[in-house]
Symmetry: C2
Subunit: 183 residues, 2 copies
């Protein structure tokens, strides 16, 4: 049961909170929309992988499940790749640039101060641009927000993987701006 009283039949995870507090939901959805879906040199699948990886590190069931499902849609249905990144990204079938960015994202998850000049130089050596490094840090930081928001208020998360598959397909198709309007 959530720590605050939410209306009956409210959707799970962050969406219940967004229904409760639309004033903060609007800019938060806009931020996530720009970071994860706007045209970018990192694909939507790569950016969702960063979100999923951070949420998994923070042990946030709702966020890692829904963003993992959205990542899989963008990656042509490759759920095994999403699982591999969560399990051990250094051995997963992603580019060396992505591995360097995931390393930075994992450091940000612990603390911004954990990111070293060496981490950033390594990402640059693998071809990462300043914007990709910036956005990796900000995506990781935003999911440190979302994970704490979702779990800090003890929202519920469905167990059924099909829930996340269906919802993930909707979000992948329609985006975050529309997401709180969709059942």
């Amino acid at each position: 049961m959530a720590h605050i009283e939410l209306p009956e039949g409210i959707p799970p995870g962050i969406r219940g909170l967004m229904t409760y507090r639309p004033e903060t939901a609007k800019p938060l959805n806009e931020l996530v929309e720009v970071l994860l879906r706007a045209p970018h040199s990192l694909s939507a699948g790569e950016r969702e992988l960063i979100a999923t990886f951070v949420s998994s590190g923070n042990d946030c069931k709702y966020c890692q499940s829904i963003h993992g499902a959205i990542a899989a849609v963008h990656l042509g249905g490759d759920e095994a790749l999403v699982a591999a990144v969560k399990d051990d990204y250094t051995a997963a079938g992603v580019s060396d640039k992505m591995k360097a960015l995931l390393n930075i994202a994992g450091k940000v998850r612990e603390s911004g101060k954990s990111v070293t000049t060496e981490d950033v130089e390594n990402a640059r050596r693998q071809g990462a641009t300043d914007l990709e490094i910036h956005d990796t840090v900000l995506i990781a930081a935003v999911f440190c927000l979302c994970n704490r928001y979702v779990d800090g208020l003890a929202t519920w998360a469905p167990e059924d993987p099909d829930f996340y598959r269906q919802r993930g397909a909707l979000v992948a198709a329609n985006g975050y701006g529309a997401s709180i309007l969709m059942k």
Copy 2:
């Protein structure tokens, strides 16, 4: 030196990053404006104290200094109260409700999962509403974002307390929406 190349003469802390990436700055400023400055049963000073306390716990020099300065402006210039909350809020001159909310904010800083039903029940016993509990969790989560963003990219933070006093007075008067436009 920041981990990414920022234009010369760029402002310190998060403002340099916001100048670099206005697309993400806009919704992030809107989110902070709603949470910290919109009409609320918690005063602007109380909400800035929560932001300052979390940023201090995360050891983010820029965020704790600027939000501490803004909090002090809203609290009638009481810098000693801001320092006391950072040092040991349980002994500081804030209400029992604020102490219960700061306890929740500190838990969120560690992990959303650290917040217990007992923490929330205690806040309610001290008169906290669901909206105050919700917003405390979200403010704490947002500053876990901001602290990681600022330190994860190694932005610079001035040493001079007067820098923060002057800037804090501007933000307290004009808000976050306008903040990236101001030198």
